[in-house]
Symmetry: C2
Subunit: 456 residues, 2 copies
């Protein structure tokens, strides 16, 4: 793997010198994912399309499905109808769906018109399932057998009809109307002592499956929990209609985690943005950031308003200002910590919506311990800088600020869940800004009250 960059440079040289015969030879030994890299590096559209035509149809289909939609679009324009037809036919049904979802409508129409009858039926059916549902990522390329088959019959059946299946490791057992009954492993077939035994006798019934209408997030949760490489998909009548493979689930999990990272960093999220900031345009990245910066302005103006209420105290005891960033930020930092912990736990499934009261109780204990430690620490600093009374104000504020910041960080994600929104909407900057308001107010309020009594 370490020689990859060198290898890429060689290939690029071959292409730039137009040595197509040598290129074809080199491409045969390369993995499709590496060819995708090469296509990305090339800046000449014509070279891209020549390289693409030199691939075997099977490899071409794989390479094509890995490209971004604008790259796919420009390749489609360089193909004639027959080439496009073969390519579309060779793609797996789930890849075909993602292609159709992303292309402009005139190209989708053209593709539909070129599609073979069987492909068309499968595609129409998959497109009927809601966006982000399991139906959109499943493939109908699996093997299913009848429980009354013997092992011998099953092996023959696989040889005859299994050619397009994505897996041979698992064979699904279905009853009348394709109702999913269980599964059998190829292992069981290969190592069975008696070829006349029936599937019924050998099949496993501890089967895990997904509903075709489930959200893809559900597929990720099931994939994580059960360590399966293939998960069968059933319709509302429990009939087997597809399988989902773990590599697709892995991709979805990665996209979801990227989305969560971005949301947590107060970056707007949409389906067109993969997170590749090297390729994204300056304008795209501007758009993804400006909204939240804007919203947070208004929250901070509230903060400013609260400070404004206490200008009298501040101008009387200017040394209070010295501790302002410390107290504001400690509230925000404690809030950032608790919100990050709870958001990740909610998304993995460690914590459920209904756990909010338990988690709140726990957070009160944790934040009290954190607040006391922090309060004690800053009291030492504050004595030197502002004297005993200021030290008292600062430590007491620190304790309260850490507790309240932590609780805001914990509760905000639960509130978003309650409002049927993604808990990750409570980003770290949002939590921080809200905590800042409470930090500022608590500190200046306590200062005003305490100093007006004991201060001087």
């Amino acid at each position: 793997m370490s020689n990859q960059n060198k290898e890429y440079t060689e290939i690029i040289n071959i292409i730039e010198n137009k040595r197509w015969d040598k290129l074809k030879y080199s491409l045969a030994d390369m993995h499709a994912a590496e060819i995708v890299d090469i296509i990305r590096i090339l800046d000449n559209d014509k070279n891209k399309s020549i390289l693409f035509r030199l691939l075997s149809t099977e490899k071409a289909a794989y390479v094509f499905s890995e490209l971004d939609s604008n790259e796919q679009e420009s390749l489609i324009y360089s193909m004639n109808d027959n080439e496009l037809k073969d390519l579309i036919h060779e793609m797996s049904p789930d890849d075909r769906i993602s292609l159709l979802e992303e292309l402009p409508s005139d190209i989708t129409k053209k593709i539909f018109s070129l599609m073979k009858e069987t492909d068309l039926n499968i595609t129409r059916q998959l497109l009927g399932y809601p966006e982000d549902s399991v139906g959109r990522i499943m493939t109908p390329e699996y093997i299913d057998v009848n429980p009354d088959f013997t092992i011998k019959q099953t092996l023959e059946y696989i040889r005859e009809f299994g050619k397009d299946s994505e897996t041979f490791e698992v064979i699904y057992v279905v009853g009348k109307n394709d109702i999913l009954l269980g599964y059998i492993l190829l292992k069981d077939l290969l190592f069975a002592k008696n070829e006349e035994e029936t599937i019924k006798d050998l099949m496993h019934t501890d089967i895990i499956y997904l509903s075709v209408y489930s959200d893809q997030e559900e597929a990720v949760k099931v994939g994580r929990k059960y360590d399966l490489l293939y998960i069968p998909v059933v319709d509302s009548k429990n009939a087997l209609i597809g399988i989902v493979t773990i590599d697709d689930i892995f991709d979805i999990a990665e996209e979801e985690d990227t989305e969560d990272f971005h949301k947590l960093g107060a970056i707007s999220v949409d389906d067109d943005f993969s997170g590749n900031i090297k390729q994204a345009s300056v304008f795209t990245l501007y758009k993804k950031r400006i909204m939240w910066l804007f919203i947070l302005v208004f929250i901070n103006i509230i903060s400013g308003y609260f400070i404004g209420l206490f200008t009298e105290t501040i101008s009387k005891y200017v040394s209070l200002i010295f501790f302002l960033p410390l107290l504001i930020d400690s509230a925000g930092n404690a809030g950032a910590q608790s919100s990050t912990l709870i958001i990740r736990s909610l998304s993995i499934g460690y914590v459920k919506k209904s756990d909010w009261l338990f988690m709140l109780g726990k957070e009160i204990l944790i934040s009290a311990a954190l607040g006391l430690t922090m309060g004690l620490t800053v009291s030492l600093l504050a004595i030197f800088r502002g004297g005993l009374t200021i030290a008292f104000v600062v430590s007491l504020s620190m304790i309260l600020v850490v507790i309240i910041g932590s609780l805001i960080g914990l509760c905000l994600p639960f509130i978003f869940v309650k409002l049927k929104k993604d808990p990750t909407t409570s980003s770290v900057p949002l939590v921080t800004s809200i905590c800042d308001i409470s930090g500022t107010s608590i500190y200046l309020f306590l200062a005003t009250v305490i100093l007006s009594k004991f201060g001087g």
Copy 2:
């Protein structure tokens, strides 16, 4: 899947009523991952161990490897030597390694003494690879064949020696000294026209592999890129010594993402903490948070120090305070955004270390656009609140603060990479706190300079 909670309640009832015969029957149909759930719900150690003994050895091994180390420990204490011996033998080699890594040394010693000779050899070998290396998660249970084998011989070989293999989908082809030459799919064997063809003629050579010494992160990257369900692992002489399956890689990816989330939220990370905050103790969670809260205190004291330099300006123009939270936080928010984007891109591999200059150039453009928009917005607010001169100070500060905050957020992760640290160490709270210092200083410095000339 929706009836899962109901099903669990039933099983718990059966256990609490000690109806063991019925339990055994119910367990047979349940997936191992669900049995793990049940064991977790049970609070009686004796019931746990009875339930565990009712499982088939194969299922028991799987259930066992999914449990946390303290749960494993208490089950081990309830087993006699023979039971433990069978269990250890049935576990897959990579699961055995993670068990041995986490148990106290007296139990590991006992397990070593009970292990069968062949298991012992494999285990000793895997333990020889560095922690977090691919060697620790690979399994030696794969099938490899000679390129001179015919298809018929290969199928016979699989039937005879493949029993323990984790996959039949892919069969690896090795030459002299086990040098990895390529692979062949079971599909190719099943659908070959002529059983006398040799593997050499059919094998694929576009093979992707991992080095046994590579970091597990490398396995995640390769797994993401190539969409493979199994990746072969070679030693320094290119000899095939194991395979890694995608479900293990998926688990590692998830753990890494959880770690990244926590680091980004300024929470300390170590191997003992899975991120399950519902199960973790108050003290554990306290420990994970106090360190960063503490470190950030010192950064905020610098912030306070800078404010202290400008007390004269502040007491003269108290309305400046109104905009302080806004400017401080906008710097921090812009920094949080750019650091989140760059950190995720570095971890997925969209951006490389060497891209820093390109990304810096891009960020200057983006942040300038963001800064100008924000500056314009707040200028309108500031005119109402503080008059023209203050509005000028505030807008100019806003522009600079957003640009500098964004650049700090971009550069800090690269600096950590340069120092050979994880870029995620530059957490959002750390970036925010550092941005706050610059935000405060820029604002108050500009205010002092401009107001001393034009102010009043």
